[in-house]
Symmetry: C2
Subunit: 285 residues, 2 copies
């Protein structure tokens, strides 16, 4: 699910030769500096011959060592973001405003990358099945995730009127108590564990209502209830609670889900696109 050279190496690691593994180990340990080394230095540092490095590059499908360095540089742009010094957790009072912006930008991109990484086509397909066949889809979320539930509702409402959003958790519970097994719940919960949520999920399970959960924690309590678990990236620390970086990943996930839904229901898509464009046009000045 990515053209990142480091991931390519990881995937092929098992099929590498002895020298290849030696080289790969060095590269991983020095992922951000290797791109600047001439082949001779890399040979010396990693303990393999220059010829082996050239072969290594060819085996990866690259045209040579220069190509490899370029690929590393590109992946570096991505992996640098994981560098603690670029994390918003490390934002200090000394940071200039523009520093802060850079760090937030980096963490948002990181969140997108992680979410892309965690995207599982089969899970999305399962979720799209459920959403497509549902009588009604209840978009739920609590606290910060309530906004995401609303966003999902808003997005899907451009193509279908089957989606419902309810803010208050008591009203959520009430509505689920009256729902049927033809309905589906699309639940957003970064932590995957809040009291109110568990109440609702218990009712839903009783009534055999399918649950799609968007969370960061595949082993959370909510995940145990869910029929499909969709993971979003970004390891938010408790102190950053509410940070938007996590939400950026969720937003991206919603869009993937939506496009999957449109792919499955092309008739809805086309009709709805023009209808909602018109509706909006009327609102515009």
């Amino acid at each position: 699910m990515s053209g990142n050279i480091l991931e390519n190496i990881t995937e092929q690691y098992h099929s590498l030769t002895r020298s290849g593994k030696k080289l790969a180990d060095y590269i991983f340990a020095n992922a951000s500096t290797t791109q600047y080394l001439p082949i001779s230095t890399l040979a010396e540092n990693s303990g393999v011959s220059e010829a082996s490095i050239t072969r290594f590059c060819h085996n990866l499908g690259l045209s040579g060592y220069n190509d490899f360095k370029l690929a590393l540089a590109k992946s570096d742009y991505v992996t640098d973001l994981g560098d603690p010094s670029n994390s918003p957790e490390t934002i200090t009072a000394e940071d200039t405003l523009s520093n802060v912006f850079q760090k937030l930008h980096a963490s948002n991109i990181l969140s997108l990358n992680e979410t892309l990484e965690l995207l599982d086509e089969q899970n999305i397909s399962k979720a799209v099945d459920l959403l497509s066949n549902a009588d009604r889809v209840f978009c739920f979320g609590q606290g910060g995730s309530m906004v995401m539930a609303m966003e999902a509702w808003a997005r899907f409402s451009t193509a279908t009127s089957h989606f419902i959003h309810i803010e208050d958790s008591h009203m959520q519970a009430m509505n689920i108590a009256l729902a049927t097994s033809q309905d589906v719940i699309l639940f957003f919960s970064y932590s995957g564990s809040t009291k109110d949520m568990e109440d609702i999920m218990n009712i839903a399970k009783d009534k055999n209502i399918s649950i799609i959960l968007v969370t960061h924690f595949p082993k959370s309590r909510a995940a145990g209830f869910a029929d499909v678990v969709l993971l979003c990236g970004y390891n938010e620390s408790p102190l950053q609670s509410g940070s938007v970086a996590a939400k950026v990943g969720q937003l991206f996930l919603i869009e993937c889900l939506f496009y999957g839904f449109c792919k499955r229901n092309p008739e809805l898509y086309a009709a709805a696109r023009s209808a909602s464009a018109e509706a909006i046009a009327q609102k515009l000045l």
Copy 2:
């Protein structure tokens, strides 16, 4: 506001020599392929000598041509995203689901990049001033942007109770009619032009209430009313209306604004951070 090599060249373009400009022109016209050229080919293609290329690289603060190619490769990661073939607009029925995910991912990153590019430290500071000194801050938005207004309210509510969110546009108008010049409106409108919004802005102007506008269009009607205009990136076509990529940029902008606010009001920040962490902890199982 970025370490992108192509932007560096743009910034220094006026101070380049004749051959430097010639070279820069070629590089811009061939931004994504130059990284793969040996210096001799680039010399021939661009019509300058190899020596001039080496000097050009040194003048950019790089150690040489190899370094330059690496820098280009890194910027390529970013600029590739602008490639039409990676845009979600070009998503077709033939695209596999995983292709679609890649394209959406690319467009989201593009949106973040553009927003970072458009971020103006002075404007953020002005906005932070207004938000910090306000009696109350009304977070407004309509249609898809309503969710963003809510997100802003949710985010700032982790640090202050001065922020208010009202969904219904009639209620928005009513509340503004009762507001004072000590209050501030934080308005989200991607297009910057909807009827309901204009009504509210007219009332606000009458009462001398400050307006901060988050929009994509600096010349929109709403921008004319606003005291501070904050721009978010991503050129959403009418047909993509509602796409989340634009919202990802807005979300990022909210976070920048919030960190700016916290920097200005450190006492709120620290106190609120632990208070809301506790409040959330109680909700967790």
